[in-house]
């Protein structure tokens, strides 16, 4: 009941500050940009000219799977950035402004407070990813060729788990410092570190959630879900849960100070 009250308040707040509109639109634009420009770039260069007679412009046209993977990669970069930014003040902002003190003077359970905020953010981000990838898939189907839609849906599900982890990390950092800007900075450092470590030791950490994007690429190509993608997904869920728990504990301990 209390959880739902906080969750509903978050949903309403995100409606009034337009997040429900602009975040999905921006995600969609990110996802369709690359397939469209990739398709039209050779044609544009052709039309513009300036290429010496006889020179052969040979830009290989990606296949449909490669094209939709561009959408995923774009979301994996810019989408993550937007996710960090929309989550950076979700708790730290309330602490900084002081409204936190009023809310927590009511018998609010920290578990409810943190998890409701997590879920409200996850809902926006998941919806945005879904709409974005489907829009990307639409353009890829038109320009590059068809892809099985169930493959796309499965990919979206796995991809969403990586974003859940991103939100979890940002929420955890939210409880450390009171400045949203610093929260975004620290969160990005953690996310970059996770990706860098994974790319260096990828052969060891085959279960790293940061590899979900790569595994989705393999899955789109082969049509088979590897064991690794399941492990990565499991790890994403575990890490997300750990981040949320850690955030709850941090807030509880802060209250006891």
């Amino acid at each position: 009941m209390q959880w739902y009250v906080i969750f509903k308040k978050e949903i309403l707040e995100n409606w009034r500050n337009m997040k429900w509109i602009w975040v999905p639109i921006v995600f969609i634009l990110f996802a369709v940009m690359d397939p469209i420009t990739t398709y039209y770039l050779p044609k544009i260069m052709d039309a513009v000219g300036g290429i010496p007679e006889g020179a052969v412009v040979d830009i290989p046209m990606p296949n449909a799977n490669e094209a939709i993977l561009m959408s995923f990669n774009e979301l994996g970069l810019l989408g993550v950035l937007i996710t960090v930014v929309i989550a950076m003040g979700v708790i730290s902002g309330e602490m900084k402004s002081g409204v936190y003190e009023l809310i927590l003077s009511k018998p609010v359970k920290y578990t409810n407070y943190v998890s409701a905020k997590f879920m409200s953010l996850a809902l926006i981000v998941f919806l945005s990813i879904f709409l974005a990838v489907v829009a990307g898939w639409y353009y890829v189907s038109l320009l590059f060729g068809s892809i099985d839609f169930t493959k796309i849906l499965t990919s979206i599900l796995f991809f969403s788990l990586y974003f859940a982890l991103i939100i979890g990390i940002v929420i955890m950092v939210n409880t450390w410092v009171q400045s949203p800007g610093v929260v975004a900075f620290l969160s990005l450092i953690i996310i970059i570190a996770l990706n860098v470590l994974t790319s260096i030791y990828g052969h060891i950490f085959t279960w790293s959630p940061a590899l979900i994007g790569d595994y989705i690429g393999e899955y789109l190509h082969s049509g088979v879900l590897s064991t690794e993608i399941w492990y990565s997904a499991l790890m994403a869920v575990i890490f997300t849960f750990a981040c949320i728990q850690f955030a709850i504990l941090t807030l509880k301990n802060r209250a006891l100070q």
Binding site: Q2, V5, K9, R16, G98, L102, S105, K106, P107, L256
Partner: protein, 302 residues
Amino acid sequence: MALLEASHLTKTYKDISVVNDVSFSLEHGKCVALLGPNGSGKTTTLRMLAGFIKPTDGNISFNEDRLSKDFRNYVGYLPQFPVFHNWMSGKEFLIYAGQLAHLSKTEAIKRADELLDLVNLKEVRKLRISKYSGGMKQRLGIAQALIHAPKLIILDEPASALDPIGRREVLNLMRELKKDATILFSTHILNDAEEVSDEILLLNEGKIIEQGSMHELESVQSTVTIKLSFTDEPKFIEDRLKEIESVFKVTRENNDYFLTVHDLQIARKQLLEVVHRENWQLTRFEVAKTSLEDLFMKAVKK
């Protein structure tokens, strides 16, 4: 039976004790002022009572507390500088606060309407809080503290930051509230404490240095100071004054004499007799009652 008992409350941050062995009890239906200069530990004490921070030592017991260890169910708290979700309307925020305190939506709406009436915000209930004035925000803050009908209302400096009109509004509201609630409020303004409280806890450097009802405090300190001035310097005046039975202290400042007495009636009679007998040229006889202010200054300087 007391509503709340705090015993030996202590709060230490890195070896610095902000609140030091504070004990008191709050009776049902009383309005108690926690009075002290800035930095005396008022806010920390209130936050411990509101269940925000845990005391380093000592404990707080609510006698109503049978169901839950979470004090926040029984306490309505107004921080010194209340901040709201500014994108909500006043009414929306009250309903939200009520639901957070486990009221059903219908109850919360009903309660919000009652309180908006009480704190006189009915006209602006649909307006976004960002458009509210300081006084309106303070009243909304009081309303949100009351939303779950708490046993105890804790107000941190409820009137200190307001202009005279806002301050008057809040004090009137507190006078209204104390008819059927227990209030504990902090202030560094003596007038506010004097005006609305039944009891005073005087706090300085984290310790309670005086406590009691207004009446008790006044009678304990009910020494009265009389100021005397003369046209000339009478002979042996200090000795003669000290001989007066009811006078127990004489001090001199320039040409004025200050007599500290317990009972004004007797002292006046005896004093005037002496003046008459000695034929002193008395030009000024002034009675200065010891106010809370003196008490405060004395206690703080101690």
